[in-house]
């Protein structure tokens, strides 16, 4: 068996599981009862999407598209910190 077709078949086989996980995360992000739940769902979605983007880069034979995953992970952390700062300031000041 050829290595290229083996890797391609494996990544195509792993895609529906990722889609199922993304769908459940998006369901929690849409119907989350409070705002921190939605922040957690978007966080987990983005971290898993970063791993999925690396696998897609292997699937498309495009190694130059790796920095997208690094940038996505870094800026979603920034969103987390903004929300934490908003809630902390809401406790102290007002």
């Amino acid at each position: 068996m050829n290595l290229a077709t083996w890797v391609t078949d494996f990544i195509v086989f792993s895609m529906p599981f990722y889609f199922a996980a993304f769908a459940l995360y998006i369901a929690r992000a849409i119907k989350g009862p409070t705002v921190p739940d939605m922040v957690l769902a978007v966080d987990a979605l983005s971290y898993d999407l970063a791993a999925f983007l690396v696998l897609l880069g292997i699937l498309f034979r495009a190694p130059i598209m790796i920095p997208c995953a690094i940038v996505l992970v870094l800026w979603v952390y920034a969103l987390d910190i903004y929300m934490a700062k908003y809630f902390e300031a809401g406790e102290i000041g007002e």
């Binding site: 998006i26 705002v35 996505l72 800026w75 700062k85």
Partner: protein, 85 residues
Amino acid sequence: MMAVDIVMGLLAASALISVIATVLAVQARDLLKAVIFSALQSVAYTLMYFMLMAPDIVLVYAAVAVGIYPLILILLIKKVGRYEV
């Protein structure tokens, strides 16, 4: 041939998610929830631009729409109040 199908399917799915997130962001009465829906739409658009093989757009769009735009909006919400009346 199979790669074209995968790209088109992923583009359709992420476009649908971005439309749903945009409608929810427009309808939300809680402005903080609107910011989170906007971030969800930005994540879907990041996947779309990755599918369209535009890594430069992804680098700029993720920084602006996930990072800087919620920062400005949260600073503004802290000034003007959280709930829309």
